[in-house]
């Protein structure tokens, strides 16, 4: 745990002010003006040598990175992400997409349909069966007394 969490104690102001005065004196500790004059030249030289030592691929990557940033690379990434998500949602929630099999004009019928080719019914098959000649117009068959006795 860092010491910031401790409760601050009262300071000895006189001692602290002397410490602060001594620290303030440190601002005079700096190199002479010649150093600052030559700093820029050294910086430029270092930059140039860095560029020369860097590989062509590295330079290309750096340039692409800078260009990508300047055209708002983030926006493009977000846009592409949103478009991909929209397409994915569209595919996933397409109505009856899973139920309907794809049918084309040239597609063959399923195998079970191919093997069941029954002959077409003839005219006689479609005609209703003939009524017996003894049937009355009410659909009842007349019965004689002798036939009842047999029963």
């Amino acid at each position: 745990m860092e010491d910031e969490s401790k409760t601050p104690l009262p300071e000895d102001h006189q001692d602290i002010s002397m410490v602060r005065q001594l620290l303030a004196v440190k601002r005079h500790e700096k190199p002479d003006d010649a150093y600052f004059d030559s700093f820029l030249t050294e910086f430029q030289t270092r930059q140039r040598s860095e560029m020369l030592s860097q590989s062509a691929r590295g330079l290309l990557m750096e340039r692409v990175g800078t260009w990508w940033w300047s055209v708002g690379g983030k926006k493009w990434v977000y846009g592409a992400g949103a478009a991909t998500a929209a397409i994915a949602m569209g595919v996933a929630f397409r109505p009856n997409a899973a139920d309907k099999p794809a049918i084309s004009e040239n597609s063959q019928p399923p195998a079970f349909e191919m093997n069941l080719q029954l002959p077409s019914p003839s005219e006689s098959d479609l005609r209703p069966p003939a009524m017996p000649s003894r049937v009355s117009k009410y659909g009842l068959i007349p019965v004689s007394a002798s036939s009842l006795q047999e029963l």
């Binding site: 602290i16 002397m18 001594l22 620290l23 303030a24 500790e29 700096k30 820029l40 930059q47 300047s70």
Partner: protein, 218 residues
């Protein structure tokens, strides 16, 4: 719903407008380096050179007082400007350029110090001759016999050793506040902490330094 059309007297409207502007001004100061930065972002290398020249002495102070070593300071500073140059296109002006480059320098120095093995502090031989006329120095020597008796080089070395005893985070805030005279709010922005944390770090750093510089008390 009909909104009542209220016409304010001109003086009231102007006063309200000026108050709004003043409020915005206090919230965000204009960046004095805006033009140079814009030119540099458009590929003007001379503009970037001007920024380097302008900020080198200030950043040198920051890095030097954190590392206490001139060679290290030079290397870190070169890297700071190289990094700033590469990242300049990404600078969007949400803070001032000054705060932005100070943050880069602070972070890079802290990273450097974490990697660096404890190396002996190598103080600069050059101390500005203006030190003898500095009011803080005059007052410190008037208060304390040991300070008066110590030569400037010795004093400088003792201060650097004491500074190196502090943690990197504490050293950074002491450098910015006590040596460079930056306000708490600015330091808080640079180190990415609250003002309370900055004050707290200063408090404990001062107490530690007070112990390390015990000999300089009367």
């Amino acid at each position: 719903m009909v909104t009542p059309n209220i016409t304010l007297p001109l003086s009231v409207a102007v006063a309200a407008d000026s108050m709004k502007t003043a409020k915005e001004d206090t919230r965000r100061k204009p960046d004095p380096d805006k033009e140079l930065v814009a030119r540099a972002q458009n590929g003007d290398t001379v503009a970037f050179d001007e920024l380097v020249v302008k900020f080198t002495p200030k950043l040198y102070g920051l890095v030097y007082h954190m590392t206490s070593n001139h060679e290290d300071t030079n290397d870190v500073l070169q890297d700071v400007f190289a990094k700033a140059y590469r990242a300049l296109k990404r600078f969007q002006g949400k803070s001032t350029f000054y705060t932005w480059i100070y943050s880069i320098a602070t972070n890079m120095t802290l990273n450097f110090l974490k990697k660096r093995n404890r190396r002996r502090a190598m103080s600069l031989d050059d101390v500005d001759s203006a030190i003898e006329n500095d009011p803080d120095y005059i007052e410190a020597t008037s208060k304390s016999d040991p300070v008066r008796e110590a030569n400037i080089g010795e004093l400088q070395e003792r201060l650097n050793i004491a500074m190196q005893q502090l943690s990197e985070d504490h050293r950074a805030v002491v450098t910015m506040y006590d040596i460079q005279g930056m306000p708490h709010a600015e330091i808080a922005k640079i180190v990415g902490a609250s003002e309370g944390t900055v004050r707290s770090r200063l408090f404990y750093a001062h107490r530690q330094l007070q112990t390390y510089l015990e000999d300089f008390r009367k």
